[in-house]
Symmetry: C2
Subunit: 337 residues, 2 copies
C-alpha cells in the first residue's frame, strides 16, 4: 500500500484516528490535544473555554434542508455544545474557486448569518482565499469556535465519570444527513422529501444540562457515525457498551436506502444528532427534556455501559444475534460534511 | 463583468475588501467584526481575548525558508500578536488531496510543531478532511488562534489613538516572501539564496510593548502589502499618511526582480514583517528594541501620520515626486499564502 493520503483518511473512522495518532499527535502533542475531544477544553492562562475547528468540503454545496454555510455554523456550534460549553464566537474562513457565482456565495453567507443568530453565536473573525479554477471544488469553509464552559461541566468532554449502568441516548433518527446527500448526488426522488437534519443542538443540550440530570458524556454524531463514537468511548476502558439494534431510531426510507446501497445507519453521518451517556437515574428525564425540543423529538435510550466485555461494543441485532461494533473502517460516502 | 469570484477577490486588496463589505458583512454584522482587525478582540461574556482565523493555500507547499505548515502557524500567531495579544492556543484544520504523500504531511506537521513551540503556542484542536484527486491542490491548512490580551492594549487593533505626528515603522525588508515564492514557481536561481521571511513576530512585539513605548497600531504586512494597510488606516480619517520611498527597506535582489516583473514592494506580501504606528517620542526607542531582535534587525521609520491630506496616503518617490497610494487593485501573485 502506497503511503499516501486516501479517502478513508477523511472518514472520521479508524484511518483518520491512525493518521492523527501517527502523523499529527507526535508533533503537536500537549495535554489538551491528547484528550481527543470534539472541542478542546482550555483551563490555563486564567481562561476556561472550549475551542473547536472544522473544515467543510461537502458536495453538493446546496442540499435539501441546508447548504455548506448552515452546516459550517451548526457543526462547530455542536462541537462546542457537546463539551458542555455555551458557544459564543465563531470564525469563518472561505476558500473559493475562481468562477464561483457570487449570488450563491451570498445565499451561503445569509444562511450562516441566520443560523448563527438562531444559535446565539456571533461570527467575529473571517478570511477569504481564492484559488484558480480546478484547484478546489467550488467552496470550502472552515469555522472555528469559542465557547464558555462552567467548571462543573469540564469533565463531560473527557467522559471520565462514565461507569457501568449508565444509559446511552441518541437524540433522534440516524442517517438523515448522509442519505440526503447520497440522494442529492444520485438524483434520487422520494415520495416524501428527505431533508438533512443539519441543526444547532445547543438549545437542546442547555435544556438537558439545566434539568438537574447527570450527564457523563456527549458527542454529536457526524463522520464515522454512532458506531465510531461508541468504539472510541470503550477503547482501552474497564467497561464496554451494549446497544440494542431494535432501539435505534431510523426512518423507514433511510433504512430502505441503507439496505439498497449497503450502508449501515450505525456508521452514518448526521449533522443535527447527538449521543449522550447519562446516569441511569437520569435517563428517562433526559429523554423527556429532549423530546420537548424540536431537535430531540425522537430521542431514545439505545443501550448502556456494561462491565461484561471491557473495551468492546456489542450490538444485539434485531434477529437476536450479537455483533461486535468497531470504528468505521474505510469510508461510506466521501465529502459528507 | 460576470458576477463571479475572481482571483483578485483573494488579493487582500480592494476586491477582497469589497467582497467582505458587500457579501459577508451584511449577514455577519456585529460590533466586533465591524472593526475589521486582523484578529477580533473579544470583551464580553467575561472574557478578554483576541481570536483570529486564516486559511493557507500557498503554492508551492515547500519553499526556501519554510513550508505551508510553518506559514500557517506564523500567520495566525502574527495576526494575534499585532493586536497586542499574547498568542496561546491554535487550531489546525487540514484539507488534503487524495494521493498527497504522507511523508510530506509529516514534514509539514513537524515544522508546525517546531514553530509553535518556538512561538510559545499550543495546537489544541484539529480537523482532517480528504477530497478526491483534483478537488483541491495538494493541501490547504486553516489555523485559528486565541490570545490573551491586556486591557491596556485593546485599543491597538482599532488604531483609535492614531494622530498626526505619529511615526510609521516597518520591521524589516519588504517583499522577501513574495519574491521567494515567485522565484520558486519560476525556478529562478540566485547567487545568494533568497529565503521567505516567514517567522513568528510575537517575541519582538512583546519586547516593543514591554519597553515603555507608546504603540498606536500594528499590523503584519501580508497580502495587499504595506500600501493596502496604510490605505485602510487613512480611509475616511481626519488624517493622512506620508511615506518616503527612500526609507523603505528592500533587498537589492528583491528590488531588481520587482523591476523585472513589474511588481511594487509596497504591495508585496511578507510573512514575517509588520508595520507599526507609534508616538513620535517613542519611534527611536521602538527601532532600537526591534533591531535587537532577529526579526527586526532592519527595522526603519518610513513615514508619518499627517494632517495635510486627510484620508490619503502619499509617497514621496526617490526622484522627489509625489504618488498617491491606494489599496492593491487586482492581484500581484495569486496563492502567496
Amino acid at each position: 500500500m502506497e503511503n499516501v493520503i486516501m479517502m478513508g483518511h477523511g472518514s472520521g473512522g479508524k484511518m483518520t484516528a491512525d493518521l492523527i495518532r501517527n502523523t499529527f499527535a507526535k508533533y503537536f502533542s500537549n495535554a489538551v490535544l491528547d484528550d481527543y475531544g470534539d472541542a478542546a477544553v482550555l483551563k490555563s492562562h486564567g481562561i476556561s473555554l472550549a475551542f473547536s475547528t472544522d473544515s467543510y468540503v461537502i458536495d453538493p454545496v446546496f442540499f435539501p434542508g441546508g447548504d455548506i454555510g448552515k452546516l459550517a455554523v451548526c457543526g462547530t456550534v455542536n462541537d462546542l455544545a457537546v463539551t458542555g460549553a455555551k458557544p459564543v464566537f465563531l470564525s469563518a474562513a472561505f476558500i473559493l474557486e475562481e468562477g464561483f457565482p457570487i449570488d450563491q456565495l451570498e445565499v451561503i453567507a445569509r444562511s450562516m448569518g441566520e443560523v448563527a443568530s438562531l444559535a446565539g453565536v456571533s461570527i467575529v473573525a473571517g478570511d477569504t482565499k481564492v484559488v484558480k479554477k480546478g484547484q478546489c471544488d467550488k467552496i470550502f469553509i472552515n469555522t472555528s469556535g469559542i465557547g464558555t464552559i462552567k467548571e462543573k461541566y469540564c469533565h463531560i468532554a473527557t467522559g471520565k465519570h462514565i461507569k457501568p449502568g449508565d444509559k446511552i441516548i441518541v437524540s433522534g433518527f440516524l442517517g438523515d444527513h448522509e442519505i440526503c446527500i447520497l440522494a442529492a448526488r444520485e438524483k434520487l426522488q422520494f415520495e416524501e422529501p428527505l431533508l438533512s437534519d443539519v441543526a444547532p443542538l445547543n438549545a437542546m443540550i442547555m435544556a438537558v444540562l439545566g434539568s438537574g440530570t447527570v450527564v457523563k458524556f456527549m458527542r454529536d454524531i457526524t463522520r464515522g457515525g454512532l458506531a465510531t463514537i461508541c468504539a472510541e468511548i470503550a477503547e482501552g476502558k474497564p467497561y464496554g457498551i451494549n446497544i440494542k439494534e431494535q432501539y435505534l431510531p431510523v426512518r423507514e426510507q433511510v433504512a430502505g436506502l441503507c439496505e439498497l446501497y449497503g450502508f449501515d445507519p450505525l456508521y452514518m453521518a448526521n449533522e443535527g444528532k447527538m449521543m449522550a451517556v447519562v446516569d441511569r437515574q437520569s435517563a428517562d428525564k433526559v429523554i423527556e427534556v429532549m423530546q420537548k425540543t424540536k431537535t430531540g423529538a425522537y430521542a431514545a435510550i439505545i443501550g448502556e455501559i456494561t462491565d461484561s466485555h471491557p473495551g468492546r461494543v456489542v450490538m444485539q441485532t434485531q434477529t437476536g444475534g450479537n455483533r461486535v461494533i468497531d470504528r468505521l473502517a474505510g469510508i461510506q460516502l466521501p465529502r459528507i460534511c
